[in-house]
Subunit: 417 residues, 2 copies
């Protein structure tokens, strides 16, 4: 069964533009992934009247409505009040929900503020969707062939309920159409080059859509196929993905939910190898990304954040003459950092990053964004030069992923550019 969807994001901070509406994108992605079409998207402030008007319009024009925001315990969280007015239902107090909230506060050894009692009120006849990370439950109301779902606005709470509750609920109710998405994760190539390599290989029919999603950790290439049956959609998506792989194979580090740090984790564990890092301009971000993988203690030993030159010299054994001669941002320094790091931690591999993140510190010779990444293994030590652009926030992240990609290619012995 196909049904038009509407996403409604709630909050004054959305209407004033003080918060970018990332929730709507996340919900839209989830709905699209099960073949639902988001036909309407709207936002509304924390005003009862505006919310009612918005909900009523949605109930007239859409069949599946998902709202996010306004379910917190404070006065400006009035989504439930708008729901009971639009659906003409009372709020019912649930003792078991309150017990559960109290229990959570007790676990965190804090007393539950009285205001949280509001969280135990639900519109009559609504199905609650549990919230693993917060006290505001999701609310599901089914009426007149329409499904109205209200989710909290805190992104990670909303996301958990969306994935664990809402999508399975739609699947049980058989809401959606056959669609299959295959996602190819690439790194080390820009969007226009990717498009030039891919386009000649493809004869896209109208059941296949291609989307490029660039980010500092690489470009995700999405192949989205629709069909009459699940297996047909799957076959179509996979065939197109294979054609693309033929053209850009070694730029692909993974598929779908793969992240480069997870691929690295698997490679290191498969080969029973360990890793340590030495970071200057990234200040710890490489270590942070590596340890964002749970279980990373199996292969990641640790690192040195060598921000000051003294730390590079004293902790990593970089020769002060190297810094004097070539500068701290140089291939030579990156190599010595990597070697020193590998020896210090007795690891199989070490990665080192040194660069000019900016906005200060650039020169004609080495403008902001200039970065050298060193890699040391038992067999060899080398460094590669990069320029990751002038934006501090972006160039540091790009440096981290470029370092991980160097390690992936080293382990897999990939020589092509």
């Amino acid at each position: 069964m196909n049904m038009d969807c509407e996403i409604i994001t709630i909050g004054d901070e959305i209407m004033t533009g003080h918060r970018v509406d990332t929730n709507a994108a996340l919900i839209a992605q989830q709905l699209t992934s099960i073949g639902l079409e988001v036909r309407y998207r709207s936002s509304v402030g924390d005003s009862l009247e505006a919310m009612e008007e918005c909900f009523r319009l949605a109930m007239r024009r859409a069949r599946v409505i998902i709202t996010t925001g306004g379910l917190g315990p404070t006065d400006d969280d009035i989504t439930k009040r708008a729901i009971v007015k639009v659906f003409k239902r009372n709020l019912i107090f649930h003792e078991d929900i309150l017990e559960d909230i109290r229990h959570r506060f007790a676990e965190r050894k804090t007393e539950m503020p009285a205001i949280n009692q509001n969280q135990a009120l639900l519109p009559q006849g609504a199905t609650p969707f549990p919230n693993k990370h917060g006290t505001a439950l999701g609310i599901c109301i089914s009426e007149k062939g329409r499904v109205f779902i209200a989710l909290p606005g805190v992104p990670f709470e909303m996301e958990q309920i969306m994935l664990d509750e809402v999508i399975p609920y739609f699947q049980r109710m058989n809401i959606g159409t056959p669609v299959k998405m295959v996602s190819l994760k690439t790194i080390g190539i820009v969007e226009s080059e990717l498009a030039e390599l891919i386009t000649p290989e493809l004869s896209l029919d109208r059941n296949i859509k291609l989307a490029y999603l660039p980010s500092p950790s690489g470009i995700e290439l999405r192949v989205i196929a629709t069909a009459d049956t699940d297996s047909e959609a799957k076959e179509r998506a996979q065939k197109t993905a294979r054609d693309i792989e033929g053209a850009i194979g070694h730029y692909i580090f993974g598929y779908d939910k793969d992240v480069l740090e997870g691929v690295i984790a698997q490679l290191l564990m498969d080969n029973d190898r360990t890793l340590a890092v030495a970071e200057s301009c990234t200040g710890g971000q490489l270590g942070q990304i590596i340890t964002s993988v749970s279980g990373s203690s199996k292969y990641f030993l640790g690192g040195v954040i060598a921000y000051a030159n003294d730390v590079k010299i004293n902790q990593l054994g970089v020769d002060s003459a190297t810094i004097d001669q070539y500068g701290a941002v140089s291939a030579e320094c990156a190599k010595e950092m990597a070697t020193g790091c590998r020896k210090k931690f007795e690891s199989d591999y070490a990665l080192a990053i040194t660069g000019i993140a900016g906005p200060e510190g650039g020169t004609d010779d080495k403008p902001v964004g200039t970065t050298f990444i060193g890699l040391s293994s038992i067999h060899e030590t080398y460094a590669r030069p990069f320029n990751f652009g002038t934006l501090r926030r972006i160039n540091r992240t790009r440096a981290v992923y470029a370092a991980l990609e160097m390690l992936r290619r080293e382990i897999l012995d990939i020589k092509e550019n």
Copy 2:
């Protein structure tokens, strides 16, 4: 004159969630800054029918309508076609606009693709807004006391036209009202506790709005005041902010665009002090956040990512007996990590974080999220226990900001809880 506004963002990539809608936030901020109320926000895909429906609804309910997207030269850019249908006007060809576009291509020494001729077509009676960075003009139609403005979707093109053309146009037309926002940045207190402390202090009139924006780095509290004059709005916002400060003063680390890592930077520089870090569960994130501030090399020396216990022992001098007796996640270990780090780097302060980020590794005694943060200064060394919840991504970020907050309170000698 006050007028309800509607922002409409256009494009399939918005509806599928493949692009986050940053344009809407930017336009909303601009409108809010001149006291216009964005009452409606909606998005629509690249479908003529859907766009017409959306524009017609906007013309019924709003007085100022701004759309963005769908003005490019390619086939899927159909905003102008929807406009001429809704407003029942013809597209008129403007030779001078085409000349200008040709001229731009000539300047870039490229030939103008024929498809760009579309860009010289404007709805009859529309006022064009020049685009400094691209070929798609902004379009302004005034009809029946309503203003309808269509802008291109490329963010920096849209932003330039918004700032240079749209806002000055509204000011000339006397559209807008005085408004002032003050933002209080807090940390170390949850939303409901904050609300309980604040509410008794306030007698909010309807010209003052309060918004809570929680994130893993703390809660931002926004005071937004409207009035008849700019100075009155400012006075009103500042008075309310002062009342709130009286109630929650020591939880406030900054104002408006302040971030905690920036406040720490200023405190360390003002006091001529240096900092080093020792990180276990956060894996480098504390260092990363500290060094996200440009110029951090003035006070940040570096750190040790002590992920493996051996690293804690060998690099930071933690006693192996301490780990045997209390565990690596303990106040004792956090203190020894902090002391060892401060000595190693010869810094004035050291922060150490050790915890169970999860999802594995929790026990009844120390569930996932248990974290100890150590602080060492020349005067004293201590550690505090926390539980930051079960989500690895979130609890690590919360640990980083809690550590920075401990340092802020240490430097400022804040004793209250």
